[in-house]
Amino acid sequence: MLSEICEGKTLPQVVKHITQEKINLYAEASGDFNPIHVDESFAAQTPLGGTIAHGMLILAYASEMMTLAFGQSWLSGGKLSARFKAPTRPGDIVTVSGKIDSIEHKNGISYANCSLECCNQKDETIIVGGAVVKLLGGKS
């Protein structure tokens, strides 16, 4: 977890290498067998031109970053908002990063407002979003 929660603090980056095998594994685990994720011949015929990772898989990496930073505060009092800007393809290396933009205090409770972004190895933004964490015990 973060040793100090303050404005401007960067969150611990999470880096993942996406493979078709990992996408298939996520399909098996989640039950989402949409062919755009798992059927290479189908996906090749679509405007996307090939398979893409599940958006919820990439969001799971974003949640991993938030859990690393805030622990149980995230799991029991987190709020996430994300837009999928570009597809993630097998072979991509995804880097999730974020920072604390501000700390708010409302009714005796502190909240950390964070921005987050997922980029691929070409520095293209895959996901952009924000997160709010209710800080437990005034810290985390």
Binding site: A29, G31, D32, N34, T46, A60, K79, R83, F84
Partner: protein, 146 residues
């Protein structure tokens, strides 16, 4: 009673399906209960390269809620996720049984794109909310060039 097998997890499973064309804003999907068993969560953690064995990762709950909804929704192949909002209210221990309720918040049909906004709420066995979310999905339109 909890479904031992999460709705939609079994390929080829037969269930009553509703299509995009039949959906209207306000439509409520049949509620689905499922157990976040240790084997299910282990499989999920392996897939996302995660760790932890006490509490269910909130994104796992969200993913299974989406799967529960898609178990009764017939979407065309190529449907993709456009945006997602999630709010987590409490820790959920591995082994808990949760109930998922979902409804259509918005439906947009344009010439080249169809979109659905789904609202999902997940409750524990004490009927306390554990998670709420909103998913926007984009459906391919046959004959349209994206």
């Amino acid at each position: 009673m909890a479904n031992r097998d999460l709705p939609g997890l079994e390929r080829g499973e037969k269930r009553a399906m509703i299509s995009y064309e039949e959906l209207v804003p306000g439509y409520e999907f049949p509620p689905a209960s499922y157990e976040l068993s240790s084997s299910l969560i282990s499989k999920y953690l392996k897939a996302v390269e995660g760790s932890g064995d006490e509490f269910v990762p909130p994104l796992a709950i969200a993913a299974y809620a989406m799967t529960a909804v898609s178990g009764s929704l017939s979407l065309p192949p190529g449907t993709i996720h456009a945006s997602q909002e999630l709010e987590f209210f409490k820790l959920v221990p591995v082994g808990a049984v949760v109930n998922c309720q979902a409804k259509v918040a918005r439906k947009l049909a344009r010439a080249k794109v169809h979109m659905l906004v789904l609202e999902l709420d997940v409750f524990d066995q004490n009927k306390e909310g554990v998670q709420a979310g909103k998913a926007t999905i984009v459906l391919p339109v046959q004959g349209a060039n994206a």
